[in-house]
Amino acid sequence: MTAASAIARDASAAGRANAETAAKSSSTAATRTSAADAATAATGTTTAASSSAAAAPVSLRGIGRAFASQSGDRQVLRDIDLEIAAGEIVAILGPSGCGKSTLLRIAGGLDQPTQGEALIDGEAVKPFDPRSAVGFQEPRLLPWRTIADNVALGLPRSTSRAAGREQVARLLDLVGLAEFAGHRPREVSGGMAQRTSLARALARNPAVLLLDEPFGALDALTRLKMQDLLLDVHAAEPATVLLVTHDVDEALQLADRVILLGHEPETPGAVVTQTIVVPGHRPRDRGSAELAELRARLLDGLGIDRHGSARGIETTTTIPHYPY
């Protein structure tokens, strides 16, 4: 089943008029095609600019992070071990404040762990590692630059002016902001700012893409579109993606593997409480029964009553081989 028809199902489930649903799903389908085109084209330019970075594996080994506070150190993360294969998409789930952003920042060299080490492609992560690009939880756009110039900030240094302009235009088209290229961040909505931020991270064309709740501020429909967009870009330009999200469905739709962060009783610091390998190839059927079971399991892990019991799904505690 295509993503578009899955959206249609969601929409009708939400009780929308049939006509409207049809219109929406067809427009989504259109976006998908153009997104795929654009992503392919993007590959073209980036290879031309010879800045195409092959996806790189990421290793987090025994990562711990404690923050100094008035009452001594406060352990936020503890013993995080995670091997991410090149080109894999891993989603990180967990309750608010458990350290998801912190883990992502460590992987990108924006923060240093107090224990353990982070490696990209077998080499220690450098401060502000150029091999990775970050989509921050907040858009963090430069208010004095236009949307287009903000996206251009993400371009690799070696990009020529003309190629850069083309690439920015393409990315803006991809995230549906072509008309707003000349606007300032304060003139666009929160969701648009977030899409700009995503485009800026994509412009980097990195080996490792770190996205911190990239779709958090988007409405349901745009969110689905952007998820599909991310998958298209990933298919055309397979980076290793580490994606923080609050949304269980989003994690299941996008990721090869979902990592659940949480606290164990009586010990400080969040650890990986569950690792779930998501079956099937992307794009996945948003409504499949299999995903529904996983969803219930994840919600359970997040401490939310799943109103029923999930059976027959194994949780892997060891790290499986990729591809699964």
């Binding site: 502000f128 921050f136 963090r140 430069l142 208010p143 900030l153 993400g154 240094r157 800026r200």
Partner: protein
């Protein structure tokens, strides 16, 4: 007034302008802390999008702004005329506007008016340019580099605490009563507001934006031009405005004490000769020149804010 320490002097500077003219927090939260130590600089309310499309209110209309601003000066002039001609106050205390006008014409015919205005303006501009340039450079050094901050802040803070008039005897001894000593004094006056505000603004650039800039590969000079500089432009401009007001303040201080030309000299000289009409003339000229030069910076500010903020 002139011998107040530099902290309070910033306040004086702020009062010289209409408070709404000094805009520090143009980038909203990004630079609202910019005024940091010059805490007396009131952040203007966020300049709302001046109604494109929306119906324009009276206070947004250009003619009303001009007419409204002229009401009080015109009223003052009329009152002055009435009070001085009615004999309520003797003309030896309050000359009539006409007498002041005649004094101006008289001085102009002798070629002194233009000379005094020119020499004073020149001193202000040169002193302001030197002081502001140093203020920008040192402010950038202290605001951007932790080491610069550690090394320079305490010393500059102490020098800033020296009342401005305390410099005068020393400057005269070292540089004589020629141009140098005056220009140096004015430069000192212009330096501190710029240094203080720029350093504070750079120190408080939104760390989130800095981190984003670094994450996208900017560092050093590129980071400065792409993130830090644009973030502090509004603060820099209000600093320049304060510095310009300071420069006029210090000009008069310098010219009152030792000079043979300029508006400050005109003030002392007229005071000694009992020419109250010329005192009035000098004060009015200072007001007009101060306002004009400030308006010039205001124009620059409008341009810069449109471009950067």
């Amino acid at each position: 007034m002139t011998d107040a320490s530099h902290g309070p002097v910033i306040t004086t500077g702020a009062l010289v302008h209409e408070s709404d003219a000094i805009r520090v927090a143009v980038n909203g939260a990004t630079t609202s802390v910019a005024a940091g130590r010059g805490a007396s600089v009131t952040p203007a309310p966020p300049a709302g999008p001046a109604g494109t499309g929306a119906r324009r209110r009276l206070v947004d209309r250009r003619w009303f702004v001009i007419v409204g601003g002229a009401i009080i000066p015109v009223a003052l002039l009329l009152t002055w005329q009435l009070v001085s001609t009615s004999g309520l106050v003797p003309v030896s205390m309050l000359p009539s506007p006409e007498m002041v006008w005649l004094a101006a014409v008289d001085l102009a015919q002798r070629g002194l008016l233009g000379l005094y205005v020119a020499i004073s303006t020149q001193r202000v501009f040169i002193g302001f340019a030197i002081g502001a340039a140093f203020g920008l450079a040192v402010g950038a050094l202290v605001g951007l580099s932790r080491l610069g901050d550690i090394l320079l802040s305490p010393t500059l803070g102490a020098i800033r605490a020296v009342p401005s008039l305390a410099w005068v005897p020393l400057l005269i001894l070292w540089f004589g009563i020629a141009e140098d000593s005056k220009i140096i004094l004015i430069a000192i006056g212009a330096f501190f507001p710029v240094y203080t505000i720029v350093a504070a603004a750079l120190r408080h650039v939104d760390p989130h934006l800095l981190e984003a800039g670094r994450a996208f590969g900017l560092r050093g000079f590129r980071l400065f031009t792409a993130v830090q500089l644009p973030a502090v432009v509004p603060s820099v401009i209000s600093a320049l405005r304060l510095a310009l007001a300071q420069a006029w303040l210090f000009l008069v201080a310098a010219e009152l004490i030792a000079s043979s030309m300029g508006l400050g000299f005109l003030l002392v000289d007229s005071g000694n000769n009992g020419r109250i009409d010329r005192i009035f003339l000098a004060i009015i000229l200072l007001a007009i020149l101060g306002k004009l030069t400030d308006a010039l910076v205001g124009l620059f500010e409008r341009w810069a804010v449109r471009k950067w903020a």
